[in-house]
Symmetry: C2
Amino acid sequence: MERHFDEELKQLKQKLLRMADTSQEMIGLAVALLCDRNQGLAEEVFGLEEKVNHMEIEIEEDVLRLLALRQPAAGDLRLLTAILKINNDLERVADQTCNISETALYLLKEPPLRPAVDIPRMASLAQKMVKNSIEAFVNQDAARAQEVCRDDDEVDRLNDKIFRDLLDVMMKDTKTITRAVDLMLVSRNLERIADHATNICEDVIFIVEGKNIKHHIQDNVQG
Amino acid sequence: MERHFDEELKQLKQKLLRMADTSQEMIGLAVALLCDRNQGLAEEVFGLEEKVNHMEIEIEEDVLRLLALRQPAAGDLRLLTAILKINNDLERVADQTCNISETALYLLKEPPLRPAVDIPRMASLAQKMVKNSIEAFVNQDAARAQEVCRDDDEVDRLNDKIFRDLLDVMMKDTKTITRAVDLMLVSRNLERIADHATNICEDVIFIVEGKNIKHHIQDNVQG
């Protein structure tokens, strides 16, 4: 039975990896929709969101089934409840890419505001963070999880820079205000995606090192 | 042992109610800080956030302990995993009130922009939604959960109105831009608080009626 449980856990991790792949793909599509002004990509993002929503429900049902049937001990229990949370974070990442796509569809009706070079940079960083956070979880790799937390500082810095740049643009030309606010919202969405990856990594560090860094509270695991 | 489990579940629900009370209080304080320009309230919000962070960790540890010791069957399992998610949502509500407080501290350095009557309205609605969502969970009251989902539509409407009003203000006077963007962020934070209450209610409806309305997917519970 122990080996059976390991096999089921492995399959569950594979599902999480697939869900993370889809979420990363959605980030890329949403930002291409915005920056390359390729309207056709919106349907792809919304189609993939349906897929992610089904994945979320399936993973949740799998975890509940495993909890009920296998009655796992402390360590495995913590892994399974972490999967529930990560599942939720990934679904919210996908959600944010839909918000970006909706904003992009508005923006495509207007002339482009400016190259907005920092948004694609922020998006690639967010993609990398989502990828690394799930791989850190699957491989129980605390060093990689720490790297994601460091990347989050860079994302916050880029978000602040984008806000300041866009405020300047608005002040100089009030005709840009609506579009600039929309780009701020996109930047905010990317920053939240990075936050979800960081949440996942805080859980990984908690599991691997038995330390709760989430609220900068240095508790030891008792479980 | 069954009665023992019921008693522990009851205590856990009491803890969630206390956490929800604290989160609601934080919404009120953050908005009073902003609208009454009462700077002293910021420390109160940040102090309560520490409290909520500790409550979150305590509730998570309680759930893990109950899962490990009591090995509950399908229905109770679903309740416990729902508590894990609600716990997370409440912590994020508290987080959003800290974001509002930080923005408010910036805004207090500038002259007031305008009465912003819709922000206090949105805040009271968000408070009511958090209260109702937890009570809907504790009493397994699907009708009340549905009410929260309806209130969320009103919050979305108010958020759109605040955005449009603030865009007008910015267009008319570029000196208001920074402050108007800050107020948009506050409005966004309140909208996200309402979203967390809605997430909780979607879980309640799932548990009580066995229907998953989360992604408008009408699945039946198999658990």
